[in-house]
């Protein structure tokens, strides 16, 4: 928490399917400060990727934003409302899960990275030099040789580094990360996470990091938002959130993950499966699966309420969730 003005602030974002009107992301608000990393964790279908993609207007054609504002702090002016289009290539970049499909296979690595600066009017020579510097910065060995390589000649880890170099080439203030390490091997994932951390510190980048894996998020994020069925259901500093979750879903998520330390224990499971969008239960979305649910939980969806400094949860029974005591 740097205490500065946020780089980006999203308020009351909702996303729905254009045809059926089914809401997929419901009233999501979040903000990120400079040099800070916000993690968003959730299972498939929780709306975490849609939230991230909507910032740059990269929603699938059948979906659209039904409400919400995005305010972004440019280099000179303060926080002001922006359209997604204005952010592309100007202050916000994004990296994806599958680097191969995000790299144009008909362009050499050096040209791919130089394309950003070229589009901003940098001369061919200067852009090529800048590309080499960026490739070196993201840890591509022998950048001069690699700049002449084609995307298919690189390993998965190197492709991801190239994608990060491309993202950096527009001098972003905010980097959006959509599961960038999910397809990678354990040791390569570790390298990429280390690289992203280093860039955040050296460049003062703000990060939003989306993953289905809470252990990855816990490694990289200062603050974490947990999404379930299109809503943020808990939010707080990562350490506090993992140590003493204040929403039963967060706790169930933690207890269902295998641990590398401590005595091996049988995994806890969550009853049932997440609700399908458009067929949400009447009250709290997690209530049908929740071990703590009472009658009131089935009546109305509880709002996300602050329960302390920087902590919020959307649970009526959060007071009963005593720290560290399993039910």
């Amino acid at each position: 928490m740097t205490g500065t003005e946020p780089v980006i602030e999203i308020a009351n974002l909702s996303i729905a399917a254009a045809q059926s009107g089914v809401t997929l992301v419901d009233d999501v608000s979040l903000h990120v400060d400079a040099g800070e990393c916000l993690g968003i964790v959730g299972e498939s279908g929780s709306g975490k990727s849609l939230t991230l993609r909507s910032i740059l207007g990269l929603l699938p054609p059948a979906l659209h934003r039904t409400q919400g504002t995005v305010r972004f702090q440019g280099e000179k002016e303060g926080l002001r409302p922006v359209e997604p289009r204005e952010l592309r290539g100007h202050g916000v970049s994004m990296i994806f899960q599958e680097p191969m499909s995000s790299l144009n296979p008909t362009m050499r690595i050096g040209d791919l990275v130089a394309a950003g600066p070229r589009a901003r009017g940098v001369s061919r020579r200067a852009a090529a030099d800048q590309a080499l510097r960026l490739l070196a910065e993201v840890g591509v060995p022998h950048p001069e040789q690699r700049a002449r390589a084609w995307p298919h000649q690189l390993s998965g880890g190197l492709r991801q580094r190239v994608m990060i170099a491309m993202a950096l080439s527009v001098e972003p203030r905010l980097l959006l990360c959509d599961e960038p390490t999910t397809a990678l091997d354990t040791t390569v994932q570790d390298q990429i996470l280390t690289l992203v951390e280093r860039l955040r510190i050296e460049r003062g980048l703000a990060l939003i990091f989306v993953s289905h894996d809470l252990s990855v998020i816990s490694r990289i994020a200062d603050r974490t938002a947990v999404m379930y069925a299109g809503r943020i259901i808990e939010h707080g500093p990562t350490g506090a959130l993992v140590d003493s979750p204040r929403h039963p879903y967060t706790r169930a998520l933690i207890e269902s993950m295998p641990q590398l330390h401590g005595p091996p224990v049988r995994l806890k499971t969550i009853n049932g499966s997440p609700p399908t969008a458009g067929r949400l239960p009447p009250g709290c979305r997690f209530a049908p699966r929740c071990p703590l649910a009472v009658d009131a939980c089935h009546q109305a969806d509880p709002p996300l309420l602050n329960i302390g400094p920087h902590r919020a949860t959307a649970c009526l029974r959060q007071a009963e969730m005593n720290v560290g005591e399993p039910v």
Binding site: T187, R198, V216, R219, S256, M257
Partner: protein
């Protein structure tokens, strides 16, 4: 105790042409692997993509013929052309929940055709056999009349397990069987496998890249790198005091809730596995190993250790 299934110096080499020059080369998917699994044991095989763990699974079930080495089941040597009865005893659960079920067939017909094929139950007992299979994998019986596309990923994987169990196997080979699932579905399938082992005495070979799941489920673990087993031993010993530098790096690189925190640190391991096309004279890990010495690239290191825990590294302290 004698091993139920045994791999003896298995090699799987593929002849390929290199992309650039088209010169023939040899892809060493599996390069001299020996492993033994005892009855009712759960062996975890862990490694990164391209280390040969999936090829090893195919050798175990008889989908891929090894270019050298022997597979022994209960002391008898078995190859790819197995008798129907022998084939039935080693079953597999695949990674992709979508590709692993025939989209045009209902669950009931897939299961009953397998039971029929082996005459495992009389015609009159089919319904109860199918119902008990569903109970075994904790699925409601109405799933029998569902088509795969009506099922969630976790349900599909449980149907795939039921299909493997339908022929009453002794050994279940699970190749990344939970990797494509969400965390909560993953936990139910992992618990299911643990229960099946306890209740049916099933022998399990669990192949995964996820160290945490291996630790939860398995009592032995084999770590593979570049087609070879670099360390093998009881899971608790390997996780508590890993001997091979690669095992240690894997453990350090794996994200873990119990050891979080941001801040700059150096990655556990630099570089990526070299391609399986390269000819390796010494230790396959030498190019990335932080402890490598000159002698490491000269010859492949022999296994050191006692009868239960072995490591292919000159630095291993047993």
């Amino acid at each position: 105790m004698s091993a139920l299934i045994e791999l003896d110096d298995i090699e799987v080499h593929f002849d390929v042409k290199t992309r650039r020059s088209g010169t023939p080369a040899t892809l060493r998917a599996v390069d001299g692997v020996s492993l033994a699994v005892e009855r009712s044991q759960c062996l975890g095989v862990v490694g990164e993509s391209g280390c040969g763990k999936s090829t090893l699974a195919c050798v175990l079930v008889g989908l891929t013929a090894p270019t050298a080495g022997r597979v022994r089941y209960d002391g008898r040597e078995i190859g790819v052309d197995r008798s129907k009865d022998l084939r039935r005893r080693v079953q597999m659960v695949f990674q992709d929940p979508v590709a692993s079920l025939n989209p045009r067939r209902r669950v009931r017909s897939v299961l009953s055709e397998l039971i029929d094929c082996h005459d495992l139950v009389p015609e009159a007992g089919m319904t109860s056999a199918l119902n008990s299979l569903m109970d075994m994998v904790n699925l409601p019986r109405r799933v029998l009349d569902a088509r795969p596309r009506e099922l969630s990923g976790g349900q599909r994987q449980r149907v795939a397990i039921a299909r493997a169990l339908a022929v009453q196997p002794d050994i279940l080979v699970a190749d990344e069987a939970v990797s494509a699932l969400d965390v909560s579905a993953q936990a139910t399938v992992v618990n299911l496998l643990a229960d099946l082992r306890a209740e049916l005495g099933l022998t399990i070979v669990f192949i995964s890249h996820d160290l945490g799941i291996i630790r939860t489920l398995c009592d032995r673990v084999a770590v593979m790198y570049a087609g070879r087993v670099v360390e093998e031993g009881p899971a608790d010993t390997v996780f508590a005091s890993a001997q091979h530098p690669y095992t240690r790096a894997l453990l350090r690189a794996a994200p873990d809730l119990g050891r979080r925190g941001t801040g700059s640190r150096s990655p556990a391991l630099e570089g990526e596995p070299s391609g399986a096309l390269d000819v390796i004279t010494g230790c396959p890990f030498v190019s990335r190993c932080p402890e490598a010495e000159a002698i490491c690239s000269a010859a492949p290191p022999a296994y050191v250790g006692d009868g239960t825990h072995r490591t292919a590294c000159i630095h291993a302290a047993h």
